[in-house]
């Protein structure tokens, strides 16, 4: 498709202005976090100490530029306080294992639910839909009993395994695959490909955008998970991911809070940069709309 450039008309100028304002608001917390991460530790500590003052004449400063730019707090976070790095590694470990498991399981399940006809298919999909809608707490207590029965309680697997079969991503991929034209698979079958080769050589490549979108969204889920580790790892503080412990760390060590936050956001930003087109395209092409 050829790109058409439209001249900017007054109505559009207003749209641009409004959108710029909204985007500025959206970016504000992220930009501030990175900005504050370069402030020297003493400055951040005294700045955060001015919070929670309730006198009518007491205000926090509006802090925009540091007296001097410092990288020392990054050194503190990464090297001097090994706890932060340990939790960061935990988060990375869980996220990597969950994404790996999902990559193995979820496309196949979605393929079965969208391109095969069998008894109980609609019932199974209905279950997926229902499970996707319910908050984690609904099945929390019985899940713990399941985990205990399987001997997985207080191990990393209790956090990883349920996420591997996450109903939302089965739903997301299924909605994409069900929209694929039948001719695509028929062409593959005429060439003598079986269900497996159709899957590997036709369906998976065509699903590239939604796979990218799902990977990015799932990364965000894992990197941000709070409820599951709180319950499944309650006896093992050291195995917790950063998402659960970060607040504790940043309250105890105010001087490194923003540097820690910036490092914590960074992988999410990189993943987002890499997959942003897939997110837009994947949702656009799937039968979500």
């Amino acid at each position: 498709m050829k790109k058409r450039r439209h001249p900017l008309r007054p109505g559009r100028a207003l749209s641009v202005l409004l959108l710029l304002l909204v985007c500025a608001f959206v970016l504000l917390p992220i930009v501030l976090t990175f900005l504050y991460s370069f402030f020297p530790q003493s400055e951040i500590k005294s700045y955060l100490a001015t919070r929670r003052q309730y006198g009518e004449d007491k205000w926090m400063q509006i802090l925009l530029s540091p007296a001097r730019v410092s990288l020392r707090q990054y050194y503190t976070v990464l090297i001097e306080k090994p706890m932060y790095l340990q939790l960061f590694v935990n988060s990375a470990k869980y996220t990597a294992l969950i994404l790996l498991g999902q990559a193995l399981v979820i496309p196949m399940t979605a393929y079965a639910l969208s391109r095969f006809r069998f008894h109980g298919r609609d019932l199974l999909f209905f279950c997926v839909l229902v499970l996707m809608l319910l908050p984690f707490q609904v099945t929390m207590a019985p899940s713990v009993i399941t985990m205990r029965t399987l001997g997985l309680m207080d191990t990393a697997w209790a956090v990883i395994l349920p996420m591997v079969f996450s109903p939302f991503y089965i739903f997301l991929l299924r909605q994409f695959m069900i929209g694929l034209p039948n001719e695509l698979l028929e062409a593959g079958m005429i060439d003598g490909a079986g269900t497996w080769r159709c899957f590997i050589h036709v369906v998976v490549p065509v699903c590239r955008p939604i796979l990218g979108a799902a990977a990015a969204l799932s990364f965000a889920d894992c990197w941000n998970m709070v409820e599951q580790p709180l319950i499944y790892l309650s006896k093992r503080q050291s195995a917790m991911p950063l998402s659960v412990m970060f607040n504790q760390i940043s309250t105890d060590n105010a001087e490194i809070a923003f540097a820690g936050a910036a490092l914590y956001i960074l992988p999410a930003l990189l993943i987002y940069r890499y997959f942003q087109e897939d997110i837009l395209l994947g949702i656009q092409l799937s039968e979500l709309k």
């Binding site: 917390p29 509006i62 095969f116 707490q137 009993i145 079969f165 039948n182 269900t195 607040n247 709309k289």
Partner: protein
């Protein structure tokens, strides 16, 4: 579509087993749990637990708050995302950078950005500075019933972009020719929106609304991080109730509350789904 293929099991089995073990069995096991008395003999008590929990004030408080928060968030998400998608459409191919920015918060970890929000909404922070400059009084955003406002704003900030993308996709799918034809017939802008855009995006609007509503039931992290396990009464959600009962090892109350809530969620979902299928048959 494949029929009667043995290879089906190859694709289906891993996911099926996982769903069963980690989701379906706990789901049904939980229903059983909510009907027993929790003693060592674990006797069957029928709906006794349900009768008790619906008289429990803390449960009712949590339920009320969860409902109210979601009823605040879902319409706001819906209106904002439609408005933003409409703005984006006027820009056509220039809209991509804005759309990218709007989706970004969806991927950001909550706890990393919490501190910035806490600073912004501090009693002496920038939001209150603006409020004071505008002549309104300062508000105790984080320590009083007003905590709902930052919670809703944080929720909107994070989730609006995803709905915008879904809406944008639906708007882009409407053929340009419809509008050109309407213009030839002398329709004005408002008529075009009402007669073309609205019916065309109705199924999407339905989906966005359901997703926004159901997701708003899950608001918990932000409140937990700011207020802990026992936050201010106006933001004590059902999830708090369930987590706290869980911490007390009172599994009966947890599951009973959980399934009372699940029934409500599913009833709402079923209702919306029915209303959708009725409407799409008409259109």
């Amino acid at each position: 579509m494949f029929h009667r293929k043995k290879s089906l099991w190859l694709f289906l089995l891993p996911g099926f087993l996982g769903l069963m073990v980690f989701y379906v069995v706990p789901f049904f096991g939980g229903i059983w749990y909510s009907m027993t008395d929790g003693t060592i003999s674990n006797g069957f008590v029928g709906i006794e637990n349900y009768r008790r929990i619906w008289k429990n004030e803390v449960f009712l408080l949590g339920l009320k708050n969860t409902m109210e928060l979601s009823l605040l968030c879902a319409p706001l998400i819906f209106i904002f995302s439609f408005f933003l998608a409409a703005l984006l459409r006027t820009l056509r191919d220039r809209s991509l950078p804005y759309r990218n920015v709007l989706v970004m918060p969806y991927l950001m970890p909550t706890s990393a950005l919490l501190l910035v929000w806490l600073v912004l909404f501090d009693y002496g922070g920038p939001v209150n500075r603006i409020a004071a400059a505008l002549g309104a009084g300062r508000v105790l955003w984080l320590e009083s019933a007003a905590l709902r406002v930052p919670i809703v704003i944080m929720y909107l900030w994070k989730n609006v972009g995803f709905s915008v993308v879904i809406f944008s996709a639906a708007l882009q799918a409407i053929p340009e020719a419809y509008y050109e034809f309407a213009s030839l017939e002398g329709a004005n802008a408002l008529q075009k929106e009402l007669k073309i855009t609205l019916p065309q995006i109705l199924p999407t609007a339905f989906l966005v609304f359901v997703l926004a509503w159901v997701n708003a039931f899950k608001i918990f992290k932000e409140i937990y991080f700011i207020g802990g396990a026992y936050p201010h009464d106006t933001v004590y959600t059902l999830q708090h109730f369930m987590n706290n009962k869980f911490a007390m090892l009172d599994y009966q109350d947890v599951t009973t509350a959980a399934y009372s809530f699940a029934v409500i969620v599913l009833a709402l979902f079923g209702l919306l789904y029915l209303s959708k299928s009725v409407r799409t048959n008409e259109v």
